[in-house]
Structures are given as C-alpha cells and as structure tokens.
C-alpha cells in the first residue's frame, strides 16, 4: 500500500468566519472526514445572510438554508464551533499553522434555556446592531430567534452595571456568569480558510446621497431588516421619519460602487438586491410606485435575467438609466427628491419619493482591518488566493464580491483546497 491512498493522518482545518461561506467550507470539509474549527466573531452563526429577509431569485427566507446548515453542524462531531472568537495571530507554514484565538466572554454558559428572564430584568435599551440601529434591545439578548448557538448573550456595555446584576438574579438556571474573562489559546491547523465576508459600505461617506442627513434615506441592508418578519418593524416597510407606508420608493444603484471615490469595483449583488426589494414593496403596497435609477443593470445568468424580466413587466416599476447624484429633502413632508439625468432622453429629472434606498455595495471586512496573517490583498482589500503557496485560502466575499450561490460554490472549492493541503502533508 502506498501512502497516497491512505486517509490523512492528522491536521485540522481552521475556518475563520461563520457566514454562509464559512459554514459551507466547514461543513463540506467535515463531511469528507476532516476536523474543522469554525471561528465566528459574532455571538451567532449566519453572518450577513442571517440579516436578510429573502434570497433572490427564489424569494425564500434565508433562515431555511441556515437551518439546514445548523442541523448539519449539530450532527457532525468533527466541527467545533467557537463564537465570539477572533484570530489574534497566525504563524507557521502550509500544513503546519499555529492559530492564536481569543474568545470574548459571552457571560452566559451552556445552561441557558433561552427563557428570556434576563432580558426582562434589564432596564437599559441599547442600539441593536443586528438591525443597523433601527431599534433598541436589552443588554441581555438573544441575537435573533434562530440564533445558533441558541443562547443569550450579555452585552459588554452592561457589565458592571445594575442591569448585569438584575439579569443574573433573574436567571433560574445559573446560566449567567459575570466573572467570565476573555480566553486565549492556540489551535494547530494544517490549512486555514478565511471566510471573513463583507461589510456594507459606509453610506455616510457618499456625501452627495444624503444618508445620515435625511431620515427617509436608508441602505439596502436596512431595507432587508425592515422587510424581515423578525426585523424592527416586524416586516412592515415604513418610512423612518413617521412610520408611514411609503407610496413611492426610489432605489439608487451603485451607491458607492463602481466609483473610484468610494469602491471602484462592481459589488455584484446590488442590482439583484434592489430588484428583489422592489418585490418586497410591491407585495405589501400594490399602489406603490418604484423608481430604479441605474448606470447598467446587471442580472448575471439566465435565472437572474428571468427575474429581472418579470419585474420589468410590472408597470409600477420604472427603470431610469442615470445615476442619482443629488438628493434633497422637503423639510415639511420629509419626502426626498432625487436628481438624475435620464441618459436615454437626455433630460434632467427630479423624482420626489417617500423613501430612498441606497444600493450600497460590499466592502471586504479586511479592507478596514487587516487580518493577522501573511495574506496578499488587492487594492480594495479582497484577499488574493495564492494557490502556489497554498495553506491559506479566502472563500466567498473575502475574495470577491459574490452572491450566496457563488459564495457557496467558491466555499466548497476552498474546502477542497484546504483538504489538498492536508493530504499533501
């Protein structure tokens, strides 16, 4: 028997990031038979997908896809999930890495039953990042209903306050441990897959589009939360200024993307996201008018093209070729007027709407904070995969802007790359 035909002797794979790409890489590698550590810096898995209302083009809820993945994790003893985990340092060479990990305290242990008594006991309301600050939550909270692991978290902001003490007292199961400290330890790994994902580009930086200045200008990710049944409005799409139902909505495409003053690249998903969000509005408000301002509409592939064609048939969805470059607000009605040149007719137009959605693009997480490993990045912060060197790979949106389908395909491929590194050892 030659050694090539043997199963790998040892070594595990570290996957950094528990969004859809990281989940896929971890599960695919584990299901082949490899040991995987899945590290997630949030207190829950699912990443950006967990914040969506529906996937395009099938318009099914993402919780469905996440649930299947969570099930696969639970059934697989080879995956170790570490939430609130951050990588501090990576040393070593392909096949032999030492990964220093820091686990931030959750202040809630495995005895938690999600009864919610701790949250009720808390008084202070804190801004809810999961909903982009559109509502508040208590200092003790469950990130969202489907959170995995299904366990409450205490915000570090309430530690040392009365709220923390009250939460601990309210817990009947002795699940709250206010003495929990950050832990650091090393993991040995043969390969590392970086699935560190993306962040919505900070719309405040696009100063001519009025985000942060006018109430009724929101981002596409905020729209997902507004439309989501577990969102701040329980799925009701309303104007932030007065909670009124919008009679008209403008979508501003390429808000920050394909713009060398912001993100020079196409973020790939925003056209489809806006088309999808148009269906959110049309479904809820049959009389609402939708205006989509675009440079070019990109619906790659036959399925997306079909989705686009269906929406184009809707007489209440208007497509205008011309980028919005100016916005203004009527101080009395809080309606927003967007200004663009219709490049087809060559006329400047001013469209007044109740709600403006900025189709902001995706920025790789590594663009704002470089990862503590010897990785190569392009000018925009996406990790460049060096297959020659091997050992460490980027999957999903850490590597390039992508939709969920492409991320999953790419993540599966990177699982194989990681396995190859171990098998070659």
């Amino acid at each position: 028997m030659t050694s090539e035909t043997k199963a790998p002797a040892g070594g595990s794979i570290v996957v950094v990031g528990g969004g859809i790409s990281g989940l896929t890489t971890a599960i695919e590698a584990a299901e082949v038979g490899y040991e995987v550590y899945l590290l997630e810096k949030n207190s829950y898995l699912g990443g950006r997908v967990a914040q969506l209302n529906q996937y395009f083009p099938k318009l099914c809820p993402p919780t469905c896809g996440l649930e299947i993945n969570f099930r696969r994790i639970k059934d697989n003893p080879r995956i170790k999930v570490l939430t609130l985990a951050e990588v501090e340092k990576v040393e070593g060479t392909p096949g032999n890495y030492t990964v220093s990990v820091r686990i931030n305290p959750r202040f809630v242990n495995e005895k938690c039953t999600c009864c919610g008594a701790c949250a009720e006991a808390c008084g202070t309301e804190l801004s809810d990042d999961y909903n982009f600050g559109m509502n508040t939550r208590k200092g003790a909270y469950l990130p969202f209903e489907m959170a995995f692991p299904a366990r409450f978290v205490l915000s570090p902001q309430i530690i040392g306050t009365d709220d923390a003490r009250k939460a601990k007292e309210a817990c009947k199961y002795d699940a709250i441990d206010l003495e929990m400290k950050p832990k650091t330890f090393d993991l040995q790994a043969g390969a590392i897959v970086w699935a560190t994902g993306w962040e919505p580009y900070d719309a405040k930086k696009i100063d001519n589009l009025g985000f942060g200045q006018y109430d009724n200008i929101i981002t596409n990710m905020m729209m997902e939360r507004l439309a989501a049944p577990n969102g701040p409005t329980k799925g009701k799409i309303v104007r932030p200024s007065d909670d009124a139902e919008p009679k008209s909505v403008a979508f501003v495409q390429c808000a920050g993307s394909r713009d060398e003053n912001h993100l020079p690249y196409c973020s790939y998903i925003c056209c489809m996201a806006s088309l999808k969000q148009a269906t959110y509005v049309r479904e809820r408000y049959p009389d609402a008018e939708i205006h989509i301002f675009y440079i070019d509409l990109r619906a790659p592939g036959q399925r997306y093209e079909k989705f686009y064609k269906t929406i184009k048939e809707d007489a209440k969805v208007h497509f205008i070729k011309g980028k919005v470059a100016e916005v203004m607000e009527d101080p009395a009605s809080k309606a927003v007027t967007v200004v663009a040149e219709n490049a087809v007719t060559g006329e400047k137009m001013r469209q007044t709407v109740d709600l403006v959605v900025l189709a902001t693009g995706m920025q790789p997480t590594a663009a704002n904070a470089k990862l503590p490993a010897d990785l190569k990045y392009n000018a925009d912060g996406f990790i460049i995969n060096d297959f020659e060197q091997g050992g460490m790979f980027a999957a999903g949106c850490a590597n390039k802007p992508a939709d969920v389908v492409s991320s999953n395909q790419n993540a599966t491929g990177m699982a194989l790359k990681a396995i190859q590194t171990l098998a070659r050892k």
Partner: protein
C-alpha cells in the same frame, strides 16, 4: 431625437481632444453623475454627459458647433464627483480649445497657437515684425521711429519705439483680430443655432438680432459679476483671480484708449505723471493683472485633480508676462535704467502684440465665444 443615427467617428478628432487636455475621456461610462453635479447645467439636455459620449464617439460636428461646451465654466464639480476619473470638466475645456481652432482663420495660425512646437517662432514673430517695419519706416520716411540711441535726460519709451510705429503695427493687428472673430462668430452663431434646433434645445426658429442684442445686455452683468463662477462648489476661489484679470484688462483697455485720444486729439505725450488719475488706473490694473494671473498659476500648480495643458499655460504665461513686463518697464524707467527699460518695453510690446494677434486662436477667445454662447442661452430661453 431621431430614430436612427449613422455614427461616423472622427478618430483624429478624438486624438486631438485627448492632446488638448481630454486624455481621460475614454474612462467615461455614461453614468450621468456629471450632468447633475454641474450647478449651471440646464435641465433640458444638460451637459456634460452627452458631450462625453459624443466626444468618445468622435462626433465632432455635434460638439464643435454646440453652445453647451461654452456654458461650462470648468469649475470642476463634475470632475470631483466623477466615479471614473474621466474629468468631464477638462474634456469640455479641450473641446473648447478645439472649437476655437475650428472657428479661427487662417487655419495654419489657429493650429500653430495650440502647438507647443510652434511656440518659439510665434514668440519671435513680433520681434522680427517690429524690427523690419521699424527700419523700413526709418528708411522710407526718413524718421527715427525705432531709435536705438534715444538719449535725453529722461527716459521716454516713445523716443526709442515711437507711438507712430506702435500704432502703425498694432492698429492693423487689432483689426485683424476683430475680422477673424467676426468671421468666426458668423459661422459659430449659425452652427450653435442649428445644433440647438437639432437637439431640441430651442423652439425659436430664427434669430432676431434685436432680441439677441437685448439678451447680450442682460448677459453682460452676469459675466462681470462672475455669477456663474460663484455657483460652483469646487474651485470657487477661482472667481476672485479671474475677476481681477478681467477687470484689469478692462481698466487697461480704458487707459490705452485715453492715451490714444489724448495723443491724437490733444497732442499730449507720455509718460504721464504718477499723480495723474489715469496713471493710477493703469497701475492698479497692472498690479491686479500680475496678482490675478499669479494666483491662477499657483492654483493650477496645486490642483492635482485638474488637467493643465499647453493651452492653459500659454494663456497664463501671456497674462502674467504682460503684467510683469509692463510694470517692470515702468519701474526701470522711474529708476533710470535706460537700456534695461527700453529692452523690457520692447518685450512688453511683444506681449501686447501676442494679446492682439493670437487671441482669436488661443484660450482667451473664450471671452468672445462664451459671451455669445451665454447670450444665445439667454435669448433661447432654455431652462
């Protein structure tokens, strides 16, 4: 908009526009941000998005005869917001330079003014002209209009370079420029009107001269007050030096006319006393010219966003040189440096000659074309 349009690209035109400062033209992807970013672009058929596509397609005829390229004041608001760095502001500047050459005649002179390789011959041309005409007059009329040994206790520039010689050269040069402009404007006005009708920018079929002159009267205060400049966001500070230069030109034009009238009607020769109010006006104008153009040069050097090409430095060099040589000629005269002063005066006259002879072909021609284009906009009532 016609249903079909046969695109006949003029590749040479695209290349020339690139060389005149529009080198980033092809980066444009037609998002139309520029047309909205522009604070002075009209709502009907706004610029510069349509100019960007027409230029990159080489549609020369749509651009050269369009008033819209002249409505742009190159403030740079579009360039600042442009997501591609295509610099629409500079492309329009390049298109204007191209249009100036197109409406200028003789064509060889028009092209030479924008050609860096022709700088030295064009710069030396008046020196040769002065010497040839001066010596010819000396010989033919038995005069000393060009006198290299003026002598005398006080320095009088006219003793070296006679006012007769100045006028015999400069008056025909001035009228040459006027004729070039008149011929250019005749075609220009016809073209911009035809273009406006074609693109639906006006509903008025025929230009009525009275209405046009009335529109001019309404436009001039806008220009003098630099109202369009101050609407700009970026490079707003350009308005002040531009205003200084424009007003000093006006002041120096007035001074020159006063000198001319007093010389030929009242027989009063220069140099004037420093206490004479006309002298005050001349000096204030000269100082404003130097400071204004100096500020513009500094701004251009420090502005990394904006393209500065030959045509821009040409004009700034001319204006600055004009001011500096004029002021130095006076200071050296007052300082009693006879030889130096006469030499600088000669150079100053060269600069004045550039101003007269080359204006119809240089960037300075915007004085005429932009004024007419703005008047046309006012007349057409386009919003």
């Amino acid at each position: 908009m016609s249903d079909s349009y046969f695109v006949d690209p003029d590749v040479g035109f695209i290349k020339e526009v690139s060389q005149l400062g529009g080198q980033d033209l092809k980066k444009c992807f037609q998002c139309a941000t520029c047309s909205v970013a522009c604070p002075i672009s009209p709502d009907t058929k706004p610029f510069p998005r349509k100019e960007m596509i027409a230029a990159s397609w080489g549609l020369k005829d749509r651009l050269v005869g369009s008033a819209d390229i002249w409505l742009c004041h190159n403030c740079g608001d579009c360039t600042a917001l442009c997501p591609r760095g295509a610099k629409p502001g500079d492309v329009l500047g390049a298109l204007r330079a191209y249009a100036i050459s197109e409406y200028g005649a003789p064509k060889i002179l028009a092209k030479s003014v924008n050609d860096p390789k022709k700088l030295v011959p064009l710069a030396l041309l008046p020196a040769v002209l002065f010497l040839v005409v001066g010596f010819l007059c000396n010989i033919l009329f038995g005069v000393q209009w060009l006198n290299f040994r003026p002598g005398g206790d006080t320095i009088v520039h006219a003793n070296f370079f006679s006012t007769w010689l100045v006028d015999i050269i400069f008056i025909p040069t001035f009228f040459f420029a006027v004729v070039v402009f008149a011929l250019g404007l005749k075609r220009f006005v016809a073209d911009i009107h035809a273009n406006a009708l074609l693109e639906g920018k006006t509903t008025k079929e025929k230009i009525d001269p009275v209405g046009f002159v009335q529109a001019l009267v309404r436009t001039v205060p806008t220009i003098l007050q630099h109202k369009k400049f101050t609407e700009c966001g970026e490079n707003k500070e350009r308005a002040t030096p531009h205003m200084m230069v424009l007003f000093s030109f006006i002041a120096l034009f007035i001074v020159t006319n006063i000198f001319f009238v007093s010389l030929y009607i009242f027989g009063q020769h220069g140099p004037y006393s420093q206490l004479n109010p006309v002298k005050w006006l001349a000096n204030v104008g000269g100082i404003a010219l130097i400071i204004g153009s100096g500020m513009m040069i500094i701004q251009r050097l420090s502005n990394k966003e904006q393209v500065s090409s030959y045509k821009d430095w040409w004009l700034l060099g001319l204006v600055f040189g004009l001011g500096v040589t004029g002021m130095l000629a006076q200071l050296t005269r007052l300082g009693g440096l006879a030889g130096v002063s006469y030499f600088i005066y000669f150079v100053h006259l060269m600069f004045v000659w550039y101003l007269f002879a080359y204006t119809p072909f240089s960037k300075l021609a915007h004085l005429v074309y932009r004024t007419v284009a703005m008047t046309y906009l006012e007349w057409s009532g386009r919003k």
